[in-house]
């Protein structure tokens, strides 16, 4: 099964389960969780089921396209089910079967693995799903976002698409995957991996200090503007600018531009902003407002 077939299969499966098919967030994010289709939809009481692919950038994992298992950017298939259905584990297993993984021939396990994002004031409880010893999915029941208890509880299923495709295609190097129609992953993404890794590690024709100063400046301006957006009641744009800050911080971090104390301070600033944004979103969509229109 090609990489794109895998995406098609999962999309078709979850659409048949009543999920809306959304599109990726068109911003640099580290995980599908940052997408407002997750971050905002899990807040408040309104039921919501959605699935989408999210290209996810982890500057620190960039390996210049030389590591067979690690990427600056990988792809997550993200599913949010709110409220979490009683049969969610079985449905998830059915989705694997739909992709051609026969659970009777493999060893599939749900092993404890909880998720926490200090910058989002968010955490959840769950498992990593192991397929013959390989982690293929992160399965999380959200408990808090923006420091607020969630009710109802949403279930987040995050498939690692490259991992699963490598398993299905039996290749040991991610760049050997067939993306579709005989075209290899290498052809589609290698140049991007090399160049993005160089950028992430600050290998730019520019003194390191200037590189750092530029990104700090971008961070500060974006951060300040996110506050202005929030004060103007523009919650989604504020979130997007908060996510941009998060990515700029990741670049500062991967390029070795932040000291330790500074690092903690950056994380704290992002967290405070994210919590404010989440709270504003809850206030803007309180049940009262929702019910009134219903």
């Amino acid at each position: 099964m090609t990489f794109q077939d895998l995406i098609l299969k999962l999309s078709a499966f979850w659409a048949s389960q009543g999920c809306l098919l959304q599109q990726p967030l068109d911003l640099e994010v580290g995980a599908g969780t940052s997408h407002p289709e997750t971050l905002f939809r899990v807040l408040g009481p309104k039921p919501w089921s959605v699935a989408y692919v999210q290209p996810s950038r982890r500057p620190d994992d960039g390996r210049f396209g030389q590591n067979p298992n690690r990427l600056f950017k990988h792809h997550q298939f993200q599913v949010i089910l709110k409220p979490s259905p009683d049969e969610v584990q079985q449905t998830y297993l059915d989705s694997l079967e739909a992709c051609g993984i026969n659970p009777r021939q493999h060893d599939i396990r749900f092993e404890e693995d909880n998720w926490e994002s200090p910058t989002l004031g968010a955490w959840g409880i769950g498992w990593q799903v192991l397929l013959d010893g390989m982690e293929i999915t992160q399965f999380t029941y959200f408990q808090q976002v923006g420091g607020m208890d969630l009710e109802p509880i949403s279930c987040e299923i995050t498939y690692g698409l490259e991992r699963i495709a490598m398993f299905l295609q039996r290749v040991d190097n991610v760049f050997d995957l067939e993306w579709g129609g005989g075209v290899k992953y290498r052809e589609v993404r290698l140049q991007e991996e090399i160049e993005q890794s160089k950028y992430a590690f600050g290998q730019v024709d520019m003194p390191q200090a200037d590189f750092a100063a530029l990104h700090r400046d971008l961070f500060d301006k974006t951060f300040g503007f996110a506050g202005t957006l929030l004060d103007s009641g523009l919650i989604l744009p504020a979130l997007e600018h908060c996510l941009k800050c998060s990515h700029l911080f990741n670049i500062l971090d991967s390029s070795g531009s932040v000291g330790v104390t500074e690092r903690t301070a950056y994380i704290l600033r992002i967290r405070q902003l994210a919590v404010k944004i989440a709270r504003a979103q809850v206030e803007a969509t309180t049940p009262a407002a929702d019910e009134a229109s219903a």
Binding site: N67, N69, R104, D107, P152, G259
Partner: protein, 730 residues
């Protein structure tokens, strides 16, 4: 008639490490709730678990609650009747409350007088009618390392029901019949896919394995025996011990086929074998191989990757060396085990390829060069980065080697090992395999050609972790590095404990996120066993080490007091863990850190041998009194000559002079058994003194002289131990 009670809480996969605790909990909570609701188990409570279920069974529980009887006190008789014998409103009111005539009330004799009373007699309810309360109680009583909200509540008015993972089904049966019980779902979540969980007689087998029908379908059960048998038919082994022995058996068989045995590291350095039975319902083992070229990686890297990251069992040959193979415990009975084996091989190989990349990358520059990058890794926000920590550890280790150990020759190595001991935190390997911190630093130091003394000091510096006398590292493992290792290991732990206290990070209750208790125990452990670990015989006073570690912080008296208390607790803990009687520990471990822990241990070992002796007990019995009456008498006062003339007085004074010399000599040779025996030998003189002499004499001069004599006795004994703690009388 007594009937069988069977409870099964069906769950999504519960974390393996929680299972043993939760299994015990369901038993204790069931017991206490049965007792509370006056139900009598006529058979032991049995508990079981798999990752997807917590089960409790009692073969026989009485069919009714025991009857309930209580005497409720009413008004005093004096206020209950008028002079003509007619009942007052107080009496009629009380009787009315219970719906009876005043004549049906009893008279109750109390210390405050005679009162009217009503005997409430309640016949026990049928067990089936009470079991829902038992079930609710158990669910409410369960506690978890991390609790989860999952949109559920009970009808008991106490709100949300938290649990380990969502509950998916519930078996609650008494005498083969279902006892109704409901776990509700709030309106906000309820819908076609989220439903109440109602107790039933259905259990569920293995998720994937089945001999007939659909895997994971409901299985109707009647009794526990039926339940257990049906589960087995559906590929669930209920007994943990059976799963474990099956795993052991298969591991052995497969290892033998590989011409190998399971690496002894699995049991000595991990809890893997204890964990796997709680990860599976129906275990079987598959064997896999990895390319032989990876055997060039350090063994530690290979075993850590296999054991900690993949839950695989490494195997060794007759020579004790790793073989390029592994065993994996699966939760399957695979038709084609080779599929799982091949996939597991690919996962492991990918990890090992990563590890080899790190290994090559890290060795492309010496360990020394990694120190700079330590300044980008935070140790603690108020204590700075790891570069700063390493510098402190280096200085402290050098001082310990020079001043405390009096081993000037070890100073350069201690300094170097201290400086390098955290450098591996900046290596790719440790960033990936954090369990290997320290170990990797040691290996890289060895690769860099540093001396055995230095690399082993780094390699083992996070140890010891356990408090047992045989916790690693051993003297043999340490070899020539023993002294240097002790200096570095002590320095690292002292720096963490003292530094964290200095900036206000103290462990409280069950919270000890920085692991300070474990670090303090390691520190205490080294000092307690210093001669055995290093061959050093120099007495080390703990306080001087803490002083040195506190040099950068200059902590307030209040903080120093807190450190004293904390370390003293850890000293108590260590000795108690080693099985010393708690009273003996209290006798020997004084408050404050002005102690040599080797001496403390030796005293304790001697005291536990003699604590039961009649002589020592005789002195101990009187020693509390000795301490009390001399509370205000300072140490070292003179006994005025010529005042004490009674025979019992002179006898005690002489005994003290003689025995004190014997005790000092014994202490000089560290023969604490002799010291305690000598204290015991003073028993006749001490007993006679207290029998014959009134210490608190009227005459002030005489009283002062007697108090001085008793104070001298006190100090001679207290210098060894506060033996009042071991007195078994009163």
């Amino acid at each position: 008639m007594d009937r069988e009670l069977l409870i099964e809480i069906g769950c999504e996969e519960i974390p393996a490490s929680w299972l043993p605790g939760l299994t015990a909990q369901i038993g204790t909570h069931l017991e206490s709730r049965l007792k509370e609701l006056r139900l009598t188990p006529e058979a032991p409570i049995e508990t079981f678990s798999t990752p997807r279920r917590l089960t409790a069974r009692v073969a026989r529980v009485s069919e009714r609650q025991t009857d309930f009887e209580e005497l409720v006190t009413g008004p005093p008789v004096s206020a209950a009747f008028k002079p003509d014998g007619e009942a007052t409103p107080a009496a009629t009111g009380f009787a009315k409350k219970y719906g009876v005539e005043v004549s049906a009330l009893e008279k109750q004799q109390t210390p405050k007088g005679v009162y009217l009373a009503y005997r409430v007699h309640q016949r026990g309810k049928a067990t089936v009618d009470v079991l829902a309360d038992v079930m609710g109680g158990i669910l409410r009583d369960m506690t978890f390392p991390k609790q989860m909200r999952w949109d559920a509540y009970l009808d008991d008015g106490k709100g949300a029901l938290v649990f380990a993972r969502p509950i998916r089904w519930l078996v609650l049966m008494y005498g083969g019949r279902v006892v109704p019980f409901v776990i509700r779902r709030p309106e906000i979540a309820q819908g076609p896919t989220v439903q109440d969980i109602r107790s039933g007689s259905n259990t569920y087998g293995h998720r994937f394995l089945t001999t007939s029908g659909r895997a994971g379908r409901a299985i109707k059960i009647k009794t526990f025996d039926d339940y257990k048998a049906r589960l087995l038919e559906n590929f669930v082994i209920l007994e943990r011990s059976e799963r474990e022995s099956r795993i052991r058996r298969e591991l052995e068989t497969h290892a033998r086929k590989l011409g190998a045995r399971v690496s002894p590291l699995v049991t000595s350095q991990s809890s893997l074998l204890a964990e796997v039975p709680d990860l599976v319902e129906y275990p079987s083992v598959v064997a896999g191989h990895f390319p032989v070229e990876f055997l060039q990686l350090p063994e530690e890297v290979l075993t850590t990757t296999m054991i900690h990251h993949q839950h695989y069992f490494p195997v060794v040959g007759d020579d004790g060396k790793l073989k390029p193979a592994f065993l994996a415990v699966t939760n399957m009975q695979p038709e084609k085990p080779e599929i799982i084996a091949r996939n597991s091989e690919r996962v492991l190989t990918a990890r090992l390829r990563d590890a080899r990349f790190f290994w090559d990358e890290d060795r492309s520059s010496p360990l020394e060069s990694k120190i700079d990058r330590l300044s980008t890794i935070l140790f603690h926000k108020k204590l700075g980065n790891y570069r700063e920590k390493a510098d402190r550890v280096s200085r402290l280790a050098a001082m310990i080697a020079r001043d405390a150990f009096q081993q000037p020759g070890a100073v350069p190595d201690a300094e170097q090992a201290g400086r390098l001991c955290k450098a591996d935190l900046a290596t790719d390997m440790v960033r990936e395999l954090t369990e290997l911190q320290g170990t990797m630093g040691g290996i890289y130091a060895r690769e860099d050609g540093l001396s055995e003394t230095v690399w082993k000091a780094i390699y083992y510096h996070y140890l010891p972790v356990g408090v047992e006398a045989d916790a690693p590292p051993t003297r043999k493992q340490l070899g020539a590095a023993a002294v240097t290792w002790a200096a570095v290991s002590l320095a690292d732990k002292l720096d963490s404990v003292v530094g964290m206290f200095a900036v206000g990070e103290r462990p409280t209750g069950s919270r000890d996120p920085l692991g300070l208790r474990r670090q303090a125990q390691g520190l205490v452990r080294i000092l307690v066993d210093l001669p055995r670990l290093t061959g050093l015989e120099t007495p080390i006073v703990l306080k001087t080490l803490v002083d040195r570690a506190d040099t950068p912080w200059q902590s307030s008296d209040e903080i120093r007091q807190a450190i004293d208390t904390f370390l003293t607790e850890r000293i108590h803990y260590l000795f108690e863990q080693r099985g010393f009687d708690i009273r003996a520990v209290r006798a020997v471990v004084k408050p404050g850190l002005d102690v040599d822990l080797v001496q403390v241990r030796e005293k304790l070992e001697a005291l536990v041998q003699l604590a039961g002796s009649e002589e020592l007990q005789g002195v101990a019995a009187l020693f509390k009194r000795v301490k009390n009456i001399t509370k205000d008498v300072a140490r070292g006062g003179d006994i005025p000559a010529g005042v004490l003339t009674e025979p019992a007085e002179t006898a005690l004074a002489e005994a003290l002079v003689q025995r004190q010399a014997t005790i000092s000599a014994a202490v000089g040779r560290r023969d604490y058994r002799a010291a305690f025996a000598t204290i015991g030998a003073m028993r006749p003189a001490v007993t006679t003194f207290f029998d014959d002499v009134l210490v608190m004499a009227e005459d002030a001069q005489l009283r002062a002289a007697r108090l001085q004599l008793v104070a001298r006795l006190r100090d001679v004994v207290l210098d060894i131990a506060d033996i009042s703690e071991i007195a078994t009388g009163d």
